[in-house]
């Protein structure tokens, strides 16, 4: 491979990973934009959704096709079931753990989110002990579970040294329309406009007759659904899930959301792609062991010169 080939490959891989991060980051940034809560449990929701995906595979007995064909049916089913599950779970979590704290100081809600995160992690641990074959028949609940490689490997660029695999394409084919759809939803529909209104000024929104609680619930539903999609992609791309995977996913997504300007939807996408590409480049040209440090360095560098994130707006305090 030439130097250009290597660089191009890293950009492709980085963008694909970055788009997954962006999907999760959107969930963080939407919730933050509307109730100023850092939802620490979001990464662990992705983890649970990934377990749901694996359960789906196990329950339906999906196997990698012998002829290497693309698993359209399995994918379609999972992309309906898992986001529904994740959306419902997210809505429920809000209803039980965050809604009662709407008027409380931000720190209280934050600690509650941390508590939910721990609960979800434990649920993931128990889920791993379920006596299904995909979960190792309930033995060794804590160890990572293998996800059957339903998609398999195929380089869509034929024999080229640079690879664009079907997994990469799947990521892009799913995430880009979803993001465009979300943008359309938020700017063109009544519900989306209501969401933006609530994010700007919940009291004024209430005075305009908007049911803020319902809108917040919808936000959690959408964020959960996005997390569900991300979980399916992660499970099928990495072919391994574990009850502790929520931490890494959450950290990356969270950093991406902040990098782009928390509360800002395009910022989350931009941040996700930046983080994904930076990670790939660092893995390739520096060393994997230092990648987390590099990401941190990029975050600090951006925040020093743009304290509200890349696309964030400075909020003026009313004196």
């Amino acid at each position: 491979m030439t130097l250009w080939d290597i660089l191009l490959q890293q950009l492709i891989t980085g963008t694909a990973n970055g788009l997954i991060i962006a999907l999760v980051a959107l969930g963080y940034t939407m919730v933050y934009g509307i109730i100023e809560l850092i939802n620490f449990a979001h990464g662990d929701l992705v983890m649970l959704a990934a377990f749901a995906a694996l359960t789906c595979i196990g329950a339906c007995g999906f196997q990698p096709a012998a002829d290497g064909s693309f698993p359209w049916g399995a994918l379609a089913l999972m992309l309906v079931v898992v986001p529904l599950f994740a959306a419902g779970a997210n809505w429920t979590i809000d209803r039980l753990a965050y809604r009662p704290l709407r008027r409380a100081p931000k720190l209280t809600a934050l600690v509650s989110a941390l508590g939910v995160s721990f609960i979800l992690v434990n649920l993931g641990l128990f889920w791993g002990g379920v006596p299904m074959e995909v979960f190792g028949h309930g033995r060794a609940a804590a160890s990572p579970k293998d996800v059957p490689d339903l998609i398999g490997y195929r380089n869509l660029l034929g024999d080229s040294a640079v690879q664009l695999t079907s997994k990469d394409l799947l990521v892009m084919a799913l995430t880009v329309p979803l993001m465009l759809g979300l943008t359309w939803f938020v700017t063109r529909t009544r519900l989306g406009t209501a969401m933006r209104a609530c994010a700007q000024d919940p009291i004024a929104a209430r005075l305009m007759g908007i049911d803020v609680d319902r809108i917040v619930g919808v936000t959690f539903l959408i964020g959960g659904a996005l997390a569900g999609v991300a979980a399916v992609i992660l499970a099928l791309s990495n072919n391994s899930i574990s009850f502790g995977m929520g931490y890494r996913v959450g950290m990356d997504a969270f950093t991406a959301a902040v990098l782009g300007g928390i509360g800002n939807l395009p910022g989350a996408v931009l941040g996700g792609i930046v983080i994904g590409v930076v990670r790939s480049l660092s893995d390739q040209y520096l060393a994997t062991a230092w990648t987390n440090a590099v990401v941190f360095g990029v975050l600090i560098a951006v925040l020093v010169f743009r304290p509200a994130g890349l696309l964030g707006a400075r909020v003026r305090e009313k004196v």
């Binding site: 020093v304 010169f305 003026r316 004196v319």
Partner: protein, 358 residues
């Protein structure tokens, strides 16, 4: 004599909205000057510009004849360079730490032989000889350090803390007391720039801390007595009735021993009796040597206590003079009462969209 406060052609814009438009006036030592005007005229924005919360888009604010901002001296620049070089050195050491440690310590450490310190030092210096791996982080670190130090300096150049330390105290339109702290503690916080105890004095309860605390507490009690709250010293500020809270805010602002005191609607919510007590208080404050600038809507208080009045309307100064002059000024009457005699408050609600509050 230099004016205590001089506002020179100050304009303040927020995006497309002009809150203050070319306002100029002066406040002389020992004066009580009131700023009045209909809601949305830019009064609180003016206060915020004076105290450094918002830098003016145009114009200057001079306190005691000078602009309150940290000046860029040669020492400052040397400081940046030092910060840069320091960061560069740390960066270079950091990037090469593993190798330096290996050659300088791990390779040479062989107990029970005594450790060859000089040899180790020599190895470290050798390891820091200019190569790509040592020079690049050093240069990058130096640049980053200088840029960071300059950026930090720039963002702390102006600000309400500098203005306060220059002798300007203020109260807020929406009371901003420290609600869970006692009245005494609130005043003591206001005294912060005038007290001298440092962290080490506090940590070890040294003499300076004890003396400082005793003097500070005595002075705080005096101020509480001045505003009539001496028996509330230990009550949490949040428990006080509204009028007392306003008085406490004044005491807190006075703790600074300010040459200029800014009062933002001090009479809000007060009945006529309290208003008269407030007038007396403001006069007592002036007699103690503090020049007062107040924003106020209560005309009884304004006419009674002010030496001069400045009238703002839509961000512009439309009149200035003694209370008698202002009372008779037709432009002021029109601004407040409108051409048909309808109070301007109602007029602005229907006629002037997009006018900011305060």
């Amino acid at each position: 004599m230099t004016a205590v406060l001089e506002v020179q052609d100050v304009t303040l814009r927020f995006g497309g909205l002009t809150a203050i438009d070319g306002v100029s006036f002066q406040v002389a030592q020992g004066q009580i000057l009131a700023v009045i005007g209909p809601n949305g005229a830019g009064k609180t924005s003016l206060f915020n510009t004076i105290t450094g919360i918002y830098p003016p888009t145009h114009g200057r604010v001079l306190i005691g004849g000078r602009e309150i901002a940290r000046s860029l001296t040669r020492r400052t620049v040397w400081g940046w360079i030092a910060a840069g070089v320091g960061t560069g050195v740390v960066a270079s050491l950091g990037v090469n730490l593993a190798d330096l440690w290996t050659h300088g310590i791990n390779d040479l450490f062989a107990p029970p032989r005594p450790f060859p310190w000089f040899q180790a030092l020599a190895a470290v210096f050798q390891g820091l000889a200019p190569t790509v791996w040592t020079a690049t982080p050093f240069l990058l670190g130096t640049v980053a350090g200088i840029a960071g130090a300059a950026s930090l300096w720039h963002s702390s150049r102006r600000g309400p803390d500098l203005v306060a330390r220059a002798g300007v105290g203020r109260t807020f339109q929406n009371i901003r007391l420290f609600r869970s702290a006692s009245c005494l503690d609130n005043v003591l916080v206001g005294m912060h720039p005038r007290l001298t105890s440092r962290w080490i004095d506090a940590l070890f309860r040294l003499r300076r801390h004890r003396v400082d605390t005793a003097e500070g507490t005595a002075k705080a009690r005096e101020l509480l007595a001045l505003v009539g709250l001496e028996d509330q010293a230990h009550r949490p500020a949040g428990e006080l009735p509204y009028g007392h809270q306003r008085r406490l805010e004044i005491a807190r602002a006075l703790a600074l021993d300010p040459t200029l005191l800014l009062l933002d609607e001090p009479a809000a919510g007060m009945n006529p009796t309290e208003g008269r007590e407030l007038t007396a208080l403001i006069r007592r404050i002036r007699d103690r040597g503090t020049t007062c600038l107040l924003i106020e809507h209560d005309m009884a208080v304004v006419m009674e206590v002010s030496d001069r009045i400045v009238v703002l309307h839509y961000g512009r100064r439309i009149a200035e003079g003694t209370p008698a002059e202002i009372r008779a000024d037709p432009r002021v009457i029109e601004a407040y009462l409108g051409r048909d005699g309808i109070p301007s408050r109602v007029q602005t609600a229907t006629v002037a969209p997009g006018v900011r509050h305060g």
